[in-house]
C-alpha cells in the first residue's frame, strides 16, 4: 500500500515528529511523568484523540500494522476515521486483530488479550492530570508531583468510602507508576488497571488539548491506589458474555429490543469473536 503523496508520511512533518519523539523518549525515561509537547492542530477536532493521533503518527513506520479501538470496538465512527486517516496519510496496513497489530491506538479500553513485547499501546487522553479535580492550580499540581506529595489523592479515595461505603471511582482510577509518579490511566474502566502492571508492551499516552505526553515502559510496576482495609477491586458486571460465554472479560450492556430487554456482551469485539470461533471449532 502507498500513502497519498499530498501528505508527508503520517500527516505530520518530520520536524514535528522529531519534537514529539523527543517528548516520548523523555516520558519513557521518567515513567508516569507528564511531559509537555508542542501539540499541533490536527484535521480532527479535540475529543477525537488528537493527542493519541500525534503520538501514533510519530512512532508509526511503513511496516507497522495499526489497530484502532474505541470503547473496545473497532467499528465505531471514531475508530474507523482514525484508521482511515492513517491508511490514507501513511499507507500502513490496518487490522482488527489485537494479535496482529504492532500499534494499537485506544480510547477507553485495554484489549483483553495480553499484549506482547514489541507492541505499542497508544492511549487517547482527555485529562492527563490525576490531581486536576482536587487541585485546580497547575503550578501547584506540578509541585505536588515533584515532591511525590500525594496525600490529597488518598483524601479523595477516603471521601469516596466515607460517602459510598466503598471506592466509587470506576473510571480513570489513579495509579502509582514505578512507585514514584501518580498517573491517570485515562478513562479506561478500573477493571483494566491490572493489565497495565508489568505489561510487556510499551504504553504511551497523548493528551492533545492539554499538550502532555506520558508513558509506561514495558515491565513497569503500576499499582492502583487503595487502602489496606479497602483493597482495589477490578469491577465488572457479574454476568457472562451472551455471545462467547466469557465470565472474565469487561462487558457492555446492550439493549436488544424496545421492551427493555438487555444482554451483556464483551466490550472487546475482537476478543469476543476469537472466543466464539474457538468455541465453534471445539464443537
Amino acid at each position: 500500500m502507498t500513502h497519498d503523496p499530498g501528505y508527508n508520511f503520517a500527516y505530520l512533518d518530520e520536524s514535528t515528529k522529531r519534537m514529539i519523539r523527543r517528548a516520548i523518549l523523555k516520558a519513557v525515561a521518567i515513567p508516569g511523568h507528564q511531559v509537555p509537547f508542542g501539540s499541533r492542530e490536527m484535521p480532527l477536532p479535540y475529543g477525537w484523540g488528537t493527542g493519541g493521533i500525534q503520538v501514533t503518527a510519530s512512532v508509526l513506520g511503513p511496516r507497522d500494522v495499526l489497530k484502532v479501538i474505541d470503547q473496545g470496538s473497532d467499528d465505531t465512527t471514531n475508530a474507523v476515521s482514525i484508521r482511515a486517516f492513517f491508511r490514507r496519510t501513511a499507507g500502513v496496513a490496518t487490522t482488527e486483530r489485537t494479535a496482529e497489530a504492532t500499534i494499537i491506538q485506544t480510547r477507553h479500553r485495554i484489549p483483553e488479550r495480553r499484549l506482547t513485547e514489541g507492541q505499542i499501546l497508544v492511549y487517547q487522553v482527555p485529562i492527563p492530570e490525576p490531581l486536576a479535580r482536587l487541585e485546580p492550580r497547575i503550578a501547584e499540581t506540578r509541585r505536588l508531583h515533584a515532591m511525590a506529595d500525594y496525600g490529597l489523592m488518598h483524601v479523595k479515595l477516603y471521601e469516596d468510602i466515607a460517602k459510598h461505603g466503598h471506592i466509587a471511582t470506576s473510571y480513570s482510577y489513579p495509579v502509582m507508576v514505578n512507585e514514584r509518579y501518580l498517573m491517570s490511566p485515562s478513562p479506561i474502566p478500573a477493571f483494566d488497571n491490572p493489565k497495565m502492571h508489568m505489561m510487556p508492551a510499551l504504553q504511551l499516552f497523548g493528551a492533545g488539548r492539554e499538550k502532555r505526553i506520558y508513558a509506561v515502559p514495558p515491565y513497569t510496576a503500576v499499582r492502583s491506589l487503595d487502602f489496606e482495609d479497602h483493597p482495589f477491586r477490578p469491577i465488572r458486571a457479574p454476568h457472562r458474555c451472551e455471545l462467547c460465554g466469557s465470565g472474565d472479560t469487561y462487558l457492555d450492556e446492550v439493549l436488544v429490543d424496545d421492551k427493555g430487554g438487555r444482554i451483556f456482551v464483551c466490550s472487546d469485539t475482537d476478543h469476543c469473536q476469537e472466543r466464539q470461533a474457538m468455541r465453534e471449532a471445539a464443537e
Binding site: 506529595d149 500525594y150 496525600g151 490529597l152 483524601v155 471521601e159 468510602i161 466515607a162 489496606e228 479497602h230
Partner: protein
C-alpha cells in the same frame, strides 16, 4: 536551659520602604509557648512566615533542630510542614478544605505521611474530634456548614493529628465572638500542655498572651522592642511602647 528547637538571628525583610523585619532574633524551646504581640503592621505575620520557610528574608538565619531552614530544599521543608510543624491560620478557610468532610480534613496529614488503613484513620479522626469538642457524629459533614468556632477547632485537630513539635498560630481566635474565643483559648491551653507542644502564637489579645504564653515578644515597626517571661513583661514593662500597650488594655 535546653537547646532551642528553633533559633533565628538577624532577620531582615523589607517591602519597598517598609522594614517588615528589622534585625529580629528569636529562640523557641521545646514545649515552650511564645506569644508575639504588637500593633497592626508591626511584622508579626511576616515573622511567622519567614520562620516557617513560607517567605525568604533578605538577610538572617533560621535553624530548626540544627538544620538551616533557609538552605533546605523545598521537599524537605514541605516534609517538615506536614510532620513536625503545623500552621494554624487566623481564617479557618485558609487552613481547611471546605469541600472535604471533617474526617477527611483530619485524615489528610495522616495520609500524607503514609497512613493507608481507612479504619485506623477514622478512629484517629474520631479521637481528635472528641479532643476538640466536636461531636464525632459530624465526622462525615462538610466543614463549610460549621460555625466559625467549630471550623477553628477542626483546623487545630487537622494540624495536631500528626503530633507536630512546633506549631505556628496566627491570631487563632481573631474574628470569633468573645465567648467563643475564651473557650477556644482554654482548649488550646489544654492541648498544648497535654502534647508538650512548642507554640509560636501571634495575638492582639494581651489577656490571651497572659493565659497561654511562657514568654512574650513585643514587636513594633519590624523590631522586637521587649522580650521576657510573660508575667515580668506584663507586670513590669520596661519599654515605653509595652507600657502603652499594657495600660491601654487595663484602661479598656
Amino acid at each position: 536551659m535546653s537547646t532551642p528547637l528553633m533559633e533565628a538571628r538577624g532577620l531582615q525583610l523589607r517591602f519597598g520602604r517598609v522594614a517588615a523585619l528589622d534585625d529580629v532574633a528569636i529562640d523557641i524551646h521545646p514545649g515552650e509557648v511564645v506569644a508575639i504581640v504588637g500593633e497592626s503592621g508591626s511584622g508579626k505575620t511576616t515573622l511567622l512566615r519567614v520562620l516557617s520557610g513560607l517567605m525568604r528574608p533578605d538577610a538572617g538565619a533560621v535553624t530548626y533542630r540544627g538544620q538551616d531552614v533557609l538552605a533546605m530544599p523545598e521537599a524537605a521543608r514541605r516534609r517538615l510542614m506536614r510532620t513536625e510543624w503545623g500552621f494554624v491560620h487566623q481564617n479557618p478557610r485558609d487552613g481547611l478544605r471546605l469541600g472535604v468532610t471533617a474526617g477527611g480534613n483530619i485524615g489528610e496529614r495522616l495520609m500524607a505521611v503514609g497512613a493507608r488503613h481507612y479504619g485506623n484513620i477514622r478512629a484517629e479522626a474520631t479521637e481528635w474530634l472528641k479532643r476538640v469538642e466536636i461531636d464525632p457524629a459530624r465526622m462525615d459533614d462538610i466543614p463549610g456548614k460549621f460555625s466559625g468556632g467549630m471550623q477553628q477547632r477542626l483546623q487545630i485537630a487537622r494540624v495536631l493529628v500528626t503530633r507536630p513539635r512546633l506549631v505556628f498560630m496566627d491570631e487563632p481566635t481573631g474574628g470569633l465572638d468573645v465567648s467563643v474565643q475564651a473557650r477556644l483559648l482554654d482548649l488550646i491551653r489544654a492541648l498544648v500542655a497535654d502534647l508538650g507542644l512548642a507554640v509560636l502564637i501571634v495575638t492582639h489579645d494581651i489577656a490571651a498572651a497572659r493565659l497561654l504564653a511562657h514568654r512574650i515578644l513585643v514587636m513594633r515597626q519590624g523590631q522586637v522592642v521587649e522580650e521576657g517571661l510573660t508575667d515580668r513583661v506584663l507586670d513590669d514593662p520596661q519599654h515605653a511602647y509595652t507600657q502603652l500597650l499594657v495600660s491601654s488594655v487595663l484602661a479598656a
